[in-house]
């Protein structure tokens, strides 16, 4: 009898121990959520030099998430054909995003933009890096790593091709002979509490947003980040590309701080089922149907 009693106790204790992570998880999660969210109204964190920090406060976790990823406000379907891709759409503060009809496209750029609304899947969706707006509009979180000692910072994105983007804050200028690249060459400075980053040297292999806004090698971007409060980052981008537009134009979006979230290893290539779309076919012997809005 006593042996049976002991066996029953052992079973019960074992079961409780085994289940403890499950049973206690809600309590832990609640506590963690409380710790993550209780100070949303606290002051903007600052670096030792007094400039705003875009990083998670020491001892905490957090990433920045796009509030939407649409660079233009739709006007008429024929004008912009900005399709709703099922994501969150947030027009942001008034004046942040232009109407599609207000963008000063050159004729070829507008035709190509409209063509892309139904005929192409963005290179980013095929695991190509993308700078500018698309870099910020990546899914699953963006992390800024500020390294004042080295006078530079890095932007890491979780989604996409598992890459990072350096921004040099040491006063250097752009090299005159840099090889064109997906992210270009970025130099940054502070204007008050706003980080201003100037980028040139893009190749023409990526889109700067998910909607196919065309650019050329003449692209010059000026991006501004302002942490307007603890949980909000205002992102503004001016596209100056005389090869595609008749004048510079500006758009942007808001980003939200996601406390408690961390970057994780996301390998675009592993999950990508559109290998052929990465190549695009040879256009002669093998044509790829790129009319689908969803990668097969």
């Amino acid at each position: 009898m006593r042996r049976r009693y002991r066996f029953g106790v052992a079973l019960t204790v074992g079961a409780l121990l085994g289940l403890s992570p499950v049973l206690m998880r809600p309590a832990f999660a609640q506590a963690a959520r409380a710790a993550d969210t209780k100070d949303d109204n606290r002051p903007i964190p600052r670096l030792p030099d007094g400039h705003p920090s875009f990083e998670a406060p020491p001892g905490e976790k957090g990433v920045w998430n796009r509030q939407d990823y649409r660079p233009l406000l739709p006007t008429t379907l024929a004008e912009t054909a900005l399709r709703d891709r099922g994501g969150r759409q947030n027009d942001g503060p008034p004046g942040l995003k232009p109407k599609g009809s207000d963008v000063p496209f050159q004729p070829w750029a507008k035709s190509l933009f409209l063509y892309r609304q139904t005929h192409e899947i963005e290179p980013y969706g095929r695991c190509k890096p993308a700078g500018g707006f698309r870099n910020m509009a990546t899914p699953y979180g963006t992390e800024f790593v500020q390294v004042p000692d080295q006078q530079r910072m890095y932007i890491f994105q979780t989604g996409g091709p598992h890459s990072f983007r350096p921004i040099y804050m040491d006063g250097r200028t752009h090299p005159s002979d840099s090889d064109p690249s997906y992210y270009g060459h970025s130099v940054g400075r502070w204007e008050g509490d706003t980080l201003v980053v100037d980028t040139v040297g893009f190749n023409e292999r990526g889109w700067i947003d998910a909607y196919g806004t065309p650019t050329t090698k003449q692209l010059h971007l000026v991006e501004k980040w302002t942490r307007t409060d603890f949980k909000t980052l205002r992102y503004e981008i001016t596209i100056d590309d005389p090869g595609a537009y008749t004048a510079p134009w500006t758009t942007g979006m808001l980003m939200s701080y996601a406390p408690g979230k961390e970057m994780f290893e996301y390998q675009c290539q592993d999950g990508n089922l559109a290998g052929e779309l990465m190549i695009g076919g040879d256009g002669v012997n093998k044509k790829i149907d790129r009319t689908s809005q969803v990668a097969p």
Binding site: K110, R116, E204, W207, T216, G243, I279, G280, G283
Partner: protein, 133 residues
């Protein structure tokens, strides 16, 4: 076995070439290669190298060859993706000759899109087909 290895290397090289060639800017920019000729049997190699800056198309037809021509006029009608290019060069006797291409871009979204149409070189008229490299 050895054949399989080289076949695999060939496939890989092709993929790398195609990937490296992807270009998303102005649809005409790049190197286009193919042929032209007045008949199906009389064909000549044709290479067109095009650049775009601000609002101007420039470039060369058959760069580095004896019949090289410099692009003087380049127009793209993006409502239907038709192209008009005029080049000026010299023939093999050193006499000035004009080359005019009128064509249409097909498979616009592909890295290796095509440009086909008619070509007039001096008084010789033919057709051409180019593929973007």
């Amino acid at each position: 076995m050895r054949g399989t290895f080289f076949f695999a290397i060939g496939i890989l090289a092709s993929l790398l070439t195609l990937t490296a060639g992807a270009q998303q800017g102005h649809p005409l920019v790049g190197v286009w290669s193919g042929d032209w000729g007045p008949t199906q049997t009389e064909r000549h190699e044709l290479v067109v190298e095009l650049l775009w800056k601000d609002t101007t198309l420039s470039g060369k037809i058959n760069p580095g060859e004896k019949d090289e021509a410099v692009v003087k006029v380049g127009k793209l009608d993006s409502s239907n993706w038709t192209v008009h290019i005029e080049g000026e060069g010299k023939d093999e006797q050193g006499k000035a000759v004009q080359t005019i291409l009128d064509g249409k871009i097909d498979n616009l979204g592909a890295a290796k899109r095509t440009l086909t149409g008619t070509l007039m070189r001096g008084t010789t008229k033919g057709n051409f087909k180019l593929t973007r490299e």
